[in-house]
């Protein structure tokens, strides 16, 4: 017996190690693939980073010096190898445009995106899931039609237009929310000097510093862009929730539960929801990852210094270290959220725990 147990224990350890090894290998292959594709694209786009950097009047000597400094004359494989080596050592390179370390810049831009996306996803889930459930429990009703209409509008209206209209109405006309940017001008100046920045997320940092006036101001600025992105997220989540719930509510176990006299609320929120939650986790994770990748247009309209705008601006001037640094972060976000949703699957679905 003892021997058998030992073998069983070793087997489980080996199995775990194998799983871990596979995950690491997948992670590495995904990252290197991502880097390779981005790198190749960066070299085929018809934009010369040197011209973008040193202007039209640069002399041949200045162009040559800049190319040498940026190692642009080395073979592509050498440039790629140098970059990957740097990344493995925590060096994401220096932005061609700003001359600052990419890692520093991402550390400044990513928290702004993280803060906005997280709030947007919370809003999207808080509204989208109940709305989807409501629509699924009363198919064909006015509530269902309304949820579907609102969802469809979220899908079909251009975010750029929605953002501008939102600003015009809630900021310009009603004055209910703060304007573009993360803070009012007065607080913006204080942020760098009066507040210890632990996370780069203004809501969290101001709360940790006990600066509730700044917290309230930051909240008034984030609520509109987060609401807008939350609406788009809600449109997707509510439609998917409706679909998953309708599928579950048509199952025999639901009929059985109802026949047994179980309260409708319990049937819907406990029995049906528990099963609908499994695919819903993927939907929410994907929606969150999509927002974390950066909502470029929203960030532009709201002057939000986020990752999407950072990558897009960098791409337009062929600032490839910045583009690739941003791409790694986006890749890491997708992979990370995949792992989290896998974990949540196992929590939500006992069958996945084996």
């Amino acid at each position: 017996m003892e021997q058998t147990d030992d073998i069983g224990g070793n087997g489980r350890i080996w199995s775990l190690l194998r799983e871990f090894g596979e995950a690491v290998a997948t992670l590495l292959v995904t990252f290197i693939g991502l880097l390779a594709v981005t790198f190749i694209i960066s070299r085929v786009v018809p934009i010369d980073p040197v011209t973008a950097l040193i202007g039209e009047r640069a002399t041949a000597q200045q162009i040559a010096t800049a190319r040498a400094e940026l190692h642009l004359d080395d073979p592509m494989i050498v440039q790629f190898g140098r970059y990957v080596w740097g990344v493995l050592h925590g060096d994401f390179g220096t932005s061609i445009k700003t001359g600052r370390p990419v890692i520093e810049e991402i550390a400044r831009f990513f928290p702004a995106t993280l803060e906005l996306s997280t709030l947007a996803t919370i809003l999207g889930v808080l509204i989208g899931v109940p709305a989807g459930v409501l629509a699924a429990t009363k198919p064909g009703s006015i509530a269902d039609q309304f949820v579907r209409l609102v969802g469809l509008m979220g899908y079909s209206m251009p975010v750029f237009w929605l953002g501008l209209i939102g600003l015009l109405v809630f900021y310009g006309t009603l004055g209910w929310v703060g304007g573009p940017g993360r803070l009012d001008a007065g607080y913006d100046m204080m942020m760098d000097f009066d507040v210890t920045q632990y996370t780069g997320m203004i809501l969290l940092d101001t709360a940790l510093n006990g600066r509730w006036d700044m917290f309230a101001n930051a909240l008034s600025h984030i609520i509109l862009p987060a609401g807008l992105l939350g609406y788009l997220s809600m449109a997707y989540i509510s439609r998917m929730t409706r679909s998953f719930m309708m599928n579950e509510l048509g199952q025999e176990y639901i009929t059985t539960a109802r026949v047994k006299g179980m309260p409708e609320r319990r049937v819907v929120w406990v029995h049906a929801m528990k099963n609908a939650l499994v695919p819903l986790i993927t939907v929410i994770a994907l929606s969150y990852a999509f927002l974390l990748e950066g909502a470029v247009l929203t960030e532009t309209i709201f002057s939000w210094p986020g990752l999407g705008r950072y990558i897009t601006d960098a791409l337009l001037v062929a600032d490839m270290p910045a583009v690739m640094g941003g791409t790694i972060v986006v890749g890491a976000v997708y992979i990370g959220l995949n792992l989290v949703s896998d974990l949540l699957y196992k929590l939500a679905d006992p069958r996945a725990r084996t």
Partner: protein, 532 residues
């Protein structure tokens, strides 16, 4: 409709949360009284080191943190003494002596010395960043600059390799690249022989009215006024620049009073702000020119009758009024309004019949122009107007639309047929545009003189090149002015360039803001005179 109680509870909690967060109590709305808040697109900044800064936004910032030997008065745009209180040129025309202004200090507290001025100018040449060519024009090289630029006590001596027009040197010394740095402070931050270049990207070390407190690329910067500036203290204590790329957003912010100045507005926004009593619109010109260029690899573009036909087939005033809507004025010569020798007359207007007759006289049958144009809305509208009026004159225009960077690459490689482009002067002297539009040192493909617009269009300007080179040596300012006027007249009637428009700037200011100067076509923004 009956709602499940759970829905009701969730709904009430959520709505309460929303109302709480959307409470207007938290909004400050107006800008702080001691701070000028400016909204602009500043993502063009590459560096804040005066030896490297070459973009509009960086030059605007540096104009307020540094001073030069010679300055431009923001209100009159005339040349005035800066850190040099007086200067003279020797009879040989190659030796200039500048007497430094006494009692001036850097923001560090260090006194200004002629040695700082010499070191700053030498540093530009040794670092050899993009704008170094502005000073390199005087024969200064990394090898000889220590001998050409010297300091002795309170006197700075500059030697040039030829007897250039003194106004040429003086104008170049007003450029951002010639701003004076605190040698002692910058030298302490040398990193691997970069002469403080990296440090200056985040800090300032000048004598200017303001000190750079913080700079976050693509987000904004904060300037703080210093006490005891030699010109008198700045009238406003702080300047907060907020990077706001979207024009419609800038408009909303200026309407609400969340910013004091909005600098990147579109014609639609300007139209929308007209008549708003809380906002003042300030109009002036920038240095950028809109022009058509025709590559003379196509023989048609050597035909003067055909070139003339095209000059008469453009609705200059129409495009300025209906497409550019206040963001450009008609301007038909290569020196922008505000430059020495700039011609402000408008010899050409739309005359379809005349253009048709000239096409017939040119002998070119069914002429076709392939016009490269970048895919932005205003450029496309402009190109379509040209396509329309050229069409009326019997010239078919095929538009080749593409990304700006892609089109620039094609232009620099002489691969275009015709192109709609803009050009901004590099420094406040007429030679900046004369040398590129009217000079071409070598017209061969191998020469790759991409910095010369004449070369990019395979255009040999003939004796205009000699005239342009003579103008840069002319010591009498009036004669020099007349020389440029003559070159411009010849250029606009014979070259394969059609100058059409000059950028007009529309700055929106809250009505309480006074004394904000953009620098016009020849200088950068000045914040130190602004009040609110």
């Amino acid at each position: 409709m009956k709602f499940d109680p759970t829905f009701r509870r969730v709904g009430v909690a959520f709505l309460s949360g929303l109302l709480l967060t959307a409470s207007p109590v938290a909004l400050l709305a107006e800008t702080p009284a001691d701070t000028l808040v400016v909204a602009d697109a500043i993502d063009d900044i590459v560096s804040l080191d005066p030896a490297e800064a070459y973009e509009f936004s960086g030059l605007d910032l540096n104009n307020n943190t540094y001073d030069g030997l010679i300055e431009i008065d923001p209100a009159t745009l005339g040349m005035v003494p800066g850190l040099a209180e007086s200067w003279s040129v020797a009879d040989d025309g190659m030796t200039y002596t500048f007497k430094m202004r006494p009692g001036v200090t850097f923001s560090s507290g260090n006194p200004l010395r002629a040695e700082d001025a010499a070191w700053s100018l030498q540093r530009v040449i040794k670092l050899n960043k993009t704008p170094a060519f502005i000073l390199g024009q005087f024969g200064w090289t990394p090898e000889n600059v220590d001998k050409m630029v010297t300091a002795d006590g309170d006197t700075l001596t500059l030697k040039t390799d030829k007897a250039y027009a003194p106004t040429f040197l003086y104008n170049c010394l007003t450029a951002g690249v010639a701003e004076i740095l605190d040698k002692e402070t910058v030298s302490q931050h040398d990193n691997a022989g970069d002469m403080g270049n990296a440090w200056l990207n985040e800090n300032s070390a000048g004598t200017g009215a303001y000190v750079l407190k913080s700079y976050k690329p693509k987000e904004g910067y904060l300037l703080e006024a210093r006490k005891g500036h030699w010109r008198g203290d700045a009238k406003i204590a702080k300047v907060l620049m907020r990077h706001t790329p979207e024009a419609a957003t800038q408009r909303l912010q200026i309407e609400k009073g969340d910013v004091d100045v909005a600098r990147t507005l579109t014609p639609v926004d300007i139209e929308g702000l007209t008549g708003n009593k809380d906002v003042t619109l300030q109009h002036d010109v920038g240095g950028q020119l809109f022009y058509l260029a025709f590559n003379q690899k196509n023989e048609n573009y050597k035909n003067q009758k055909f070139l003339d036909a095209m000059r008469w087939a453009i609705d200059y005033q129409g495009v300025a009024d209906t497409i550019m809507k206040g963001t450009a004025i008609v301007h038909q010569s290569f020196l922008p309004q505000g430059y020495l020798g700039a011609l402000d007359d408008q010899p050409y207007k739309l005359d379809v019949e005349k253009a048709k007759a000239l096409v017939a006289e040119s002998g070119i049958k069914d002429p076709t122009v392939t016009l490269s144009v970048r895919n932005s809305a205003d450029r496309m509208d402009l190109a379509q107007s040209i396509q329309n009026t050229f069409g009326q004159a019997g010239i078919k225009v095929e538009l080749k639309v593409g990304e700006g960077a892609e089109q620039l690459k094609e232009y620099r490689a002489r691969l275009h047929d015709a192109t709609l482009q803009t050009w901004g002067p590099d420094y406040p002297d007429p030679n900046t545009n004369s040398s590129t539009f009217a000079e071409n040192p070598d017209n061969s493909d191998e020469a790759k003189n991409t910095g010369y617009l004449a070369w990019r269009n395979t255009y040999d300007p003939g004796d205009m090149k000699a005239k342009s080179q003579a103008a840069v040596m002319e010591r009498d300012p009036d004669k020099r002015k007349a020389m440029y006027e003559e070159i411009e007249k010849e250029h606009r009637s014979t070259s394969p360039f059609i100058l059409m428009l000059q950028q007009a700037r529309n700055t929106a200011l809250r009505s309480n803001v006074k004394g904000f100067y953009t620098g016009g076509a020849i200088d950068s923004a000045a914040y130190w005179l602004a009040t609110k």
